[in-house]
Amino acid sequence: MGDVISVLTDNFDEFLAGFWVTVRLVVFAFAIAMVVGTLVAALRITPNKWLQRLGGVYVETFRNVPLLVLLFISFAGLRRAGVDIGPWTAGIASLGLYTAAYVAEALRSGVFSVSKGQIEAALSLGYTYGQALRRVVFPQAFRTVISPLGSLIIAMIKNSAIIGVSLLALDDLLKTARVVQSRTFETNETFFWAAAGYLLLTVSATFAIRSLEKRYAIHR
């Protein structure tokens, strides 16, 4: 047990730096995922067939390409094509856009949980389509999707570790653990702390989601 503690205390600055990199990756990627995911979900529920298709193409593209491949394309691929993209931008954009596809699907299913009659009622009351979505559909849809969105956030936090093993070479929590391991050969102790770091993030996310669920619970 003494070893476990000393691995953390001896390398605390490095672990903290790695943890902070992971936190920043996850926070920015989450912001992108929510914004883009909401836009794509909106496309998928418009009455316009072409816009629906556009949203569908987005979801199918980003949901069907492995995250690691997206990272290669967005970093090595774009750089080869002459775009001067940095590892931070490539990492955050890939993780965010990838997660956005799942967010869009979760939101769409939330929207379909609102009965069609409500939209028709809103439209017949003189709301425009956008107003009907904003004022009637989305507030209700968001409530039903809080729980699935929570699962997506937890999955995204864990997926962020893929950035650390990719050729983006960002020193996130997992990468930091591997560097410390290669220096100390304390394999179990090092990865124990990496796991603890991810757990800290996912548990915090879980608590945040719980409190949101309580606040916006639908009382039926």
């Binding site: 001067d84 093993v165 050729l167 070479a169």
Partner: protein
């Protein structure tokens, strides 16, 4: 229906035919050796005599480290500096060389269990390994160097401050660079091919590791170059021989001595290294004792 069955049969026959042809390509490597004019006959109870009896010497080489030991994608032959030296050893015995892939992890066990008679796989001599196997005298002195794009301003380890430098996670170069270039921004990846990608697409400014691996990168991409100046570290390569077989070690040392003095070494150096780096190098004069000293 009948047509379909015939088509299926045809496909099967063609497939078998193709497979048979494929097998032909997998013939043992290193053919075309002409027996040396005068071959010394060794007593049957020595390793040399046993190899002569078998008619082939099994040599463990790398398959993925150009230009020392690698599979040429054009003809599937194993080629490189290590391979050429192995051929010299085989010629001296009047036998065929049979190259076996030996990665860093398994090459020492291969010697112990007799899978190979000799290991020539970019193996750095050090005291730890010298406990497990016999080393030949150093046959090549690799050096820790820095690879940069042709138009780079980086001139050596002193100008790495503030630049991004790629090397492999867990390699000795991680510590070497932290010590010699503490201001450099280290980018650690799993393999050197990732480092090559990063320096090619401009995400890092330099790559640092053995000059041998870096030369392999220059062979693939001649817009890269090595910086001049003092090397970061010295990595003497030695041939690996089964522990306790000093007769065979002395034989290999003898072949190496002749290889160096007879011009074979210089020829191989020019063919595999010199023509890509534009540098000239004398055959190594470092002794095994000095090598163990230098790396411990």
């Amino acid at each position: 229906m009948k047509n379909a069955r015939w088509a299926l049969l045809l496909v099967l026959v063609l497939g078998l035919f193709a497979a048979a042809c494929g097998d032909d390509d997998e013939e043992p490597t290193g053919g075309g050796a002409e027996p040396a004019a005068e071959v010394e006959e060794f007593p049957a109870d020595t390793t040399m005599g046993r190899i002569q009896e078998a008619g082939e010497i099994k040599i463990g080489v790398k398959y993925d480290v150009p230009p020392f030991g690698f599979k040429n994608p054009q003809n599937n032959e194993i080629e490189g500096f290590d391979v050429d030296f192995g051929k010299a050893v085989a010629d001296k015995l009047g036998v065929e060389p049979n190259y076996v892939e030996a990665i860093s992890d398994n090459r020492i066990p291969f010697l112990a269990d007799g899978t190979v008679d000799l290991v020539l796989s970019t193996m750095t001599i050090n005291a730890e390994r010298a406990q497990e196997i016999e080393f030949s005298e150093p046959y090549y002195i690799a050096q820790g160097r820095i690879l940069v794009p042709q138009d780079s301003d980086i001139t050596g380890v002193d100008s790495l401050g503030g630049t991004k430098v790629c090397t492999a996670l867990g390699s000795t170069y991680e510590a070497t660079l932290k010590e010699q270039a503490p201001e450099a921004d280290l980018r650690l990846v799993d393999t050197y091919s990732e480092c090559l990608e990063l320096v090619q697409n401009g995400a890092v400014d330099a790559v640092s590791t053995d000059d041998v691996i870096l030369t392999g990168m220059i062979i693939q991409d001649d817009t890269l170059k090595l910086t001049e100046g003092e090397p970061l570290s010295t990595e003497p390569y030695g041939g690996g021989i089964k522990k306790g077989d000093t007769e065979f070690k002395e034989f290999v040392d003898g072949v190496l001595e002749e290889y160096k003095s007879g011009g074979g070494w210089t020829e191989a150096y020019e063919k595999w290294v010199g023509q890509y780096t534009g540098e000239e190098q004398e055959p190594p004069t470092m002794t095994l004792e000095e090598a163990i000293e230098a790396t411990s």
